[in-house]
Amino acid sequence: MSTTKILSAYWHVQDSHTIDVALQQGAYVVAHDVLKGARSPEDVTNEVKKSGLRGRGGAGFPTGMKWGFLPKDNPKPRYLVINADESEPGCFKDRYIIEESPHMLIEGCILASYAINAHDCYIYVRGEFWHQQRILQQAVNDAYAKGYLGDRCFGTDFKLNITVHSGAGAYICGEETALLTSLEGERGYPRLKPPFPATHGLFQCPTVVNNVETIANVPWIVRHGADEYSKIGKYVVGEDGKPKVDSRGTRLFCGSGAVNKPGVHEVPLGMKLIDYIDEYHGGVKGELKGAIPGGSSCPILTADEVRSVEMTYESMVAHGTMFGAGGLIVIDQETSLVWVLHNLLRFYAHESCGQCTPCREGTDWLYKIFSRVLVGKGSEADLQEILDIADNMEGKTICALAAAATMPTRSYIKKFKDEFVSYFVKGGRPVDLRGRYIQSPAMARL
């Protein structure tokens, strides 16, 4: 299997975040050539389309297709907005792209802006990334100083300004329409879709929103071509000539929880998940109970599923879950899933923006039920109640946060029914996350 590294190719080099190292590693060569006229904007878009690159922010939408959705005849300015909000529990990859190779992201912004004919690009970085914002701002300043950004990028007629914009603490601002509302100086409320950002995005103008990792892949793809990119990962064509498995390229995976060596690794798609855990994370710490493959919003996998699932979009779907943003959280037998769900439901209750009643009330209600169950005061009726509440939330809200809370909840209860029934029914003494009995009620408030 190919071991090509795209995003983390030079992370091991000292001072990899500096422009000098980036240039030694070949950064900006392809952006320079493209802007000088080697490739047309359509050409760049088509290359990305052909590569099969899919969004790394959660939904996995084909990137080239997204760029193609911008209306051709709209006279308004167009914007490229980079989502560096990275707040999904379990995900910590975009921060490393910013910390280790920010120029890869900036070069990707130049190419993507050229492809969609945008002259302003905003990088929305979560407010807590104070350190990362400083690294990124320095990198942007250096790119301006070299003449790669500004009124005449690389001395051509192409104009591009990049602005690093700080959020201020709100998970929901990772949702693309909330991000745009926030960027306009408002409370971070998601907007109803349609209209989509492609036509009514930032300042009501045509806008592309892409994740950091998605865009950081673009220079490599344009430089080496879609055909080379397609050799990485898993791509299988069926008898009907259509792709049966189309999981091309590499992805950054963030392993945490019950693994011996937590961290971020770039691997080609197609590996078995269990092999990845063994090879890159030193195996499971303790005995495997299950794993959340892509961040807290993704349904859970049982131990058997962790052993059978492949790291492809198709295999994840076949197992009823998804890659999300690559946040793999491994759960061991010692860990109580009632506790895990309680911990995550508190997160969603805290992060609901409050616009939609089903989500605002529903997330809070779920959290409250779990708080009661956790201290040993549950009943079997609660399990049904939880599913009823989930029914009343899904598909009835403006954005996907409500489903991000209910889909995992359903999967935990369905796949680990015995554990939940016994905890809910027998109640028993409250345990903490490590399966130990709670000594003081104070522990339950977290």
């Binding site: 707040s87 379990g90 995900c91 926030s182 971070g188 995550l344």
Partner: protein, 158 residues
């Protein structure tokens, strides 16, 4: 008391408004400037941030109150925020919190009587692989913490 930007902050503000086609979009960056200067956002600061962007004061309050990082009340000199979300919780975040509560003699959400430390929790800070962790004053991350390292950290905060 009326509040206005210092000359340095004013210069930063003058630069940042040019980055947006609509003035209002500069509101959050402007609130950051004021909080950086004062440490929190008193009503006078909210009013000033709104005024320089031709917005009503209520707009600044409405927006600031949505985001967890804006302090609408004074906080201690060191605002300590410990991540409490799953991955960190699995590797000792609660022990860290208990240790901090014990050492500082306060509970979550409180400030020490000398105004030095405020203790809070935070949701996932994208350090799940390097937990347990905390952030101080919305700036530096302190990762891979143990009670011992935490004691050293506290001692270094003067």
């Amino acid at each position: 008391m009326a509040y206005t930007f210092s000359p340095e902050t004013q210069a930063k503000f003058d630069r940042l408004v040019t980055r947006y086609p609509q003035k209002k979009a500069a509101l959050i960056p402007t609130l950051w400037l004021a909080q950086e200067e004062i440490g929190w956002l008193p009503p006078e600061a909210l009013a000033h941030c709104a005024a320089v962007l031709d917005l009503p004061p209520s707009k600044a309050y409405s927006v600031a109150s949505f985001y967890t990082m804006f302090n609408l009340k004074p906080v201690g000199k060191y605002k300590i925020e410990v991540c409490r979300t799953l991955s960190c919780a699995m590797c000792g975040a609660f022990e860290l919190i208990a240790h901090l509560e014990h050492k500082l003699g306060i509970r979550l959400g409180e400030t020490t009587p000398d105004g030095k430390f405020t203790l809070m929790t935070q949701e996932c800070l994208a350090s799940c692989g390097t937990g347990p962790m905390l952030q101080i004053n919305g700036k530096r991350y302190h990762e891979n913490l143990t009670p011992g390292k935490l004691d050293e950290l506290l001692a270094s905060l003067t």
